[in-house]
Assembly symmetry: C2
Homo-oligomer: 195 residues x 2
Amino acid sequence: MVESPRRQQIEDAASALFRERGYAATSVRDIAQALNLQGGSLYAHMASKEDVLWSIVSRAADRFNAEVAPLAAEQASGSIRLRKMIRAHVEVVTSDQKNAAVFLHEWRFLSQERRDQMAARRDAYEALFRRVIDEGIGTGDFEAVDSRLTAMAILSSLNGIATWYRPAGALGARDIADQYADLFLRALTTARIRP
Amino acid sequence: MVESPRRQQIEDAASALFRERGYAATSVRDIAQALNLQGGSLYAHMASKEDVLWSIVSRAADRFNAEVAPLAAEQASGSIRLRKMIRAHVEVVTSDQKNAAVFLHEWRFLSQERRDQMAARRDAYEALFRRVIDEGIGTGDFEAVDSRLTAMAILSSLNGIATWYRPAGALGARDIADQYADLFLRALTTARIRP
């Protein structure tokens, strides 16, 4: 989706406010004020506040999927693919932390129809992890875990990074990703050889 | 803290609304309507909406701490203590899911002073997990992981259960807790013997 510079500014300002105050507590007037505009003039660029939330959320979902889905489909062992997927997910969470946080915490304020669409996309995304885990179990590389629970454990812990990550912190995003990957791959791999 | 039955009703109604709509989007009038009361009459039982949020959040924090802190202090191996702590945390998340979800997602709407207090309590709670992991590393039972990152990975994944757990679902809370404990203990233990 190609966007006008103004629309992009609106989404950036809205995303910052949604993250800070929550979607429900942010008004269109607040977004306009952050941009030094009149509230009414925003409606030339957006249909509603929920429309802006939908853009932010669906763009974030697109990005997670675009980065991770090709890795899940590679010809490689479950361990190798899962490590790459964890790295890619953490990269999106940390490089686009503001939008990722809005995606993760505010999507429930979408209208029912859009929420259902997003729930289906999240299920499909989670299924990428589930499938790689199941394939690793099938080849004997991974323990016979419940792949659904394990995928949710992995994704919840990776998403948690969005709440505490600081770009200026001691650990870089890649280090964090590798330590999480080490942790979950030790949990999954049957061999005692380090993944 | 002993509460009047009316105050307890107010907190229950508020917690359900905070969870469903978010704290910011819930008014005192909404809480009153859920109880078939006039908005003004609530102020005999509460100083403000934030006061009710604070009660819910601090009660949830008390409960996590009361269940988990004694387990962290037991005389037992890191593996045994960590499994018990994971079980106890999941038990609180799943048995008091509504308040746990409000605690986890809405605490950021507290006033600055109370938010700082709660952040300190959360740090102290996380430190219980960190210490048990560090002690397990010290005895050679656990891999030399970064205990802070590992504690956050564990807690984020356990807290994620609050967003998807259904009491009528196929897996009981204890099964879920044990599978998460198996996962993280496989990730941590140096011995190949199952923890």
